[in-house]
């Protein structure tokens, strides 16, 4: 069933440096279309750094330097003619800590479509906001108080609001950087359900510390260690039959 679609994103021999420090060395990976890819690995192994190179969020770090090539639908995203703003609209991001804008719930979701001119008139914007909130599973909880501040929601609701905000600009890829690490188990389950529902429509890359979570939500898993990609393959293979000793040690809790 898989492998008949071309990969959504491809990375070839990517190195990332922070000043003299090499955070990622020689990582090559294909992100499949419309599936969930999980990055696992111990803290400081570079998985978040690598995630942030996929939509060039590392550009904001002055000392960061990226070599190698990363392609989105075959186009080099670090090429001179690539527009970063448009790239980030196509490759959305959800962060570790829920970070809604200190504005109303409506404004939080409407902001992206508005700056990219995606909606036609007030009615069109209303529709995008409703659709995004419905798809993020938040609509029923907030439909009567869209004018309330986004920061007044609970942590889990805030994170779903951030997901709604990300999907409101209709991205092709959604990067999630440990989206559940600040949430309780109930809210985490809710987000995982949501990832299941979003799959098939968006390519999702999720960084997680929680191996059960990786096993539950992803179809592909990549194991990072000390800035290197140790093993990458189908999630079922990685968790039941890892090729590498280090992967096996990590997923069985020997270290990390």
């Amino acid at each position: 069933m898989r492998d008949n679609k071309p990969p959504k994103m491809t990375a070839g021999h990517v190195n990332v440096f922070y000043g003299d420090n090499q955070a990622i060395s020689d990582v090559s990976i294909d992100i499949p279309q419309d599936e969930v890819t999980a990055f696992i690995g111990p803290s400081g192994c570079g998985k978040s750094t690598f995630l942030r190179t996929l939509n060039r969020m590392n550009d904001t770090v002055a000392s960061a330097r990226v070599t190698g090539e990363i392609r989105l639908d075959g186009a080099d995203i670090y090429a001179r003619e690539m527009d970063v703003v448009q790239l980030r609209a196509r490759v959305g991001m959800v962060f570790q800590k829920p970070n809604p804008f200190p504005k109303t719930i409506y404004e939080n979701v409407a902001y992206g479509p508005r700056i990219h001119g995606l909606a036609k008139g007030r009615a069109g914007l209303d529709r995008i906001v409703e659709e995004s909130l419905v798809r993020a599973g938040l609509w029923n909880e907030v439909k009567d108080r869209l004018g309330d501040s986004g920061t007044a929601l609970s942590g889990g609701q805030q994170q779903r609001l951030c997901i709604a905000r990300a999907i409101a600009v209709d991205p092709e890829v959604i990067l999630m950087d440990e989206p559940c690490s600040a949430l309780d188990p109930v809210a985490t389950a809710r987000i995982e359900e949501l990832i299941h529902e979003l799959r098939g429509r968006y390519s999702i890359v999720i960084v997680t510390h929680n191996m059960q979570q990786a096993a539950r939500v992803s179809q592909k898993t990549a194991f990072f260690h000390l800035g290197q990609l140790i093993e990458y393959g189908d999630t079922s293979d990685i968790f039941t039959n890892p090729r590498e000793e280090r992967t096996k040690d990590y997923i069985t809790g020997r270290y990390g």
């Binding site: 969020m57 804008f101 905000r165």
Partner: protein
Amino acid sequence: MSDAPPRTPTDWSGELMQRRIARRYRAERRFRLLGLAAIALSAAFLIFLLGSMLTRGLGGFTETRIALPIDLKAAKLAVDPAHLKGRGADLALTGAGLEDAVDTAANAAWPAQGGSALLADGAWLRVREAVKADPTLLNGRATFDLPAATAIDIAYKGKGAAEDEATVAALGAQLSRGFNRDFLTGADSTDPTRVGIWGALKGSLMTMFVTIALAFPIGVLAALYLEEYAPHNRWTDLIEVSINNLAAVPSIIFGLLGLAVFLGTFGLPRSAAIVGGLTLALMTMPVIVIAGRNAIRAVPPSIRDAALGVGASPVQVVFHHVLPLALPGILTGTIIGVARALGETAPLLMIGMRAFIAAPPEKLTDPATVLPVQVFLWSDEVNRGFVEKTSAAIVVLLVLLLAMNGLAIYLRNKFETRW
């Protein structure tokens, strides 16, 4: 393991411990009392300052009036009633000899006390205003309450020389006190009963306008650029150090700079509100940049990430998110800087704003003075009538400062984000 003897169990209820606890409580009490004493001392100074300013200054807002009966019909003023309407009225009444008529009436009313010398310099102008408002006054006898001369004013308020006190006693019920409207609408004068604060107040407001119009946008843009765009290298470090140093430069040096650059090089008019505003803007800008940078730095980076993550451009991140969130802090810093500039005297003396300005400025290039300089000038006057005028001017200055601080608090609360 080391072979040290095992620790003896701590005796939490022993005498040593009790003493330590008592000592801790004493230190706590002492600290609290010291803090309370500091607050009480500051409050006492504040109350003393405000109290003494108000008790002395409020007299400056009132004037002593003498009731003078004038028979304008008998004075036979040759005024065509048709001229009493509109713009020619002042000229018509002045030409008809109204001033002489008032003097004559005063000399007749109080021959022993000095006659027209009891009246303030421009007292007859009040009669003119009254006649303009009601031309029928020309056809009969009427009593006018006219402002008294400085000496009488001081004596009536209880601080005059012995002979003036005697005059006041002789005049008795003819004297009264009233609110001095001219003080709020006039400008500087040589006669303390006729001085007004409006000229200096207007000069201050115009100067502040120039200062804010220049320093706020430039300061905020500089702060935004330094925080959001500039690379962090040796040059920006140098700029940061320079800005911090500029904020600490004595204000008179900015005055010298203004004198050399704005007056000397650009040839702008001396003593004008625009030059004062430019000079104070130079002084205020570093304060705004520093306050702005701190406020911008306090905006959580996660908000920038969030905005960049949905594809906002750097300019959109700044103007949609960072600036609105930093605005309360920027505004507070701005108003503190502007309030400091409002109270500045020294740099304005250097650019010639200490001149005697008898008319409120109309344009930014007109000769003007500002409140603190006016206070300084009046405090230097020999005439005793200026004492309470000085205090009254200080009251006006303090009210303006309080109003600005109130505005700062209002704006901060209005724009503050609740997380």
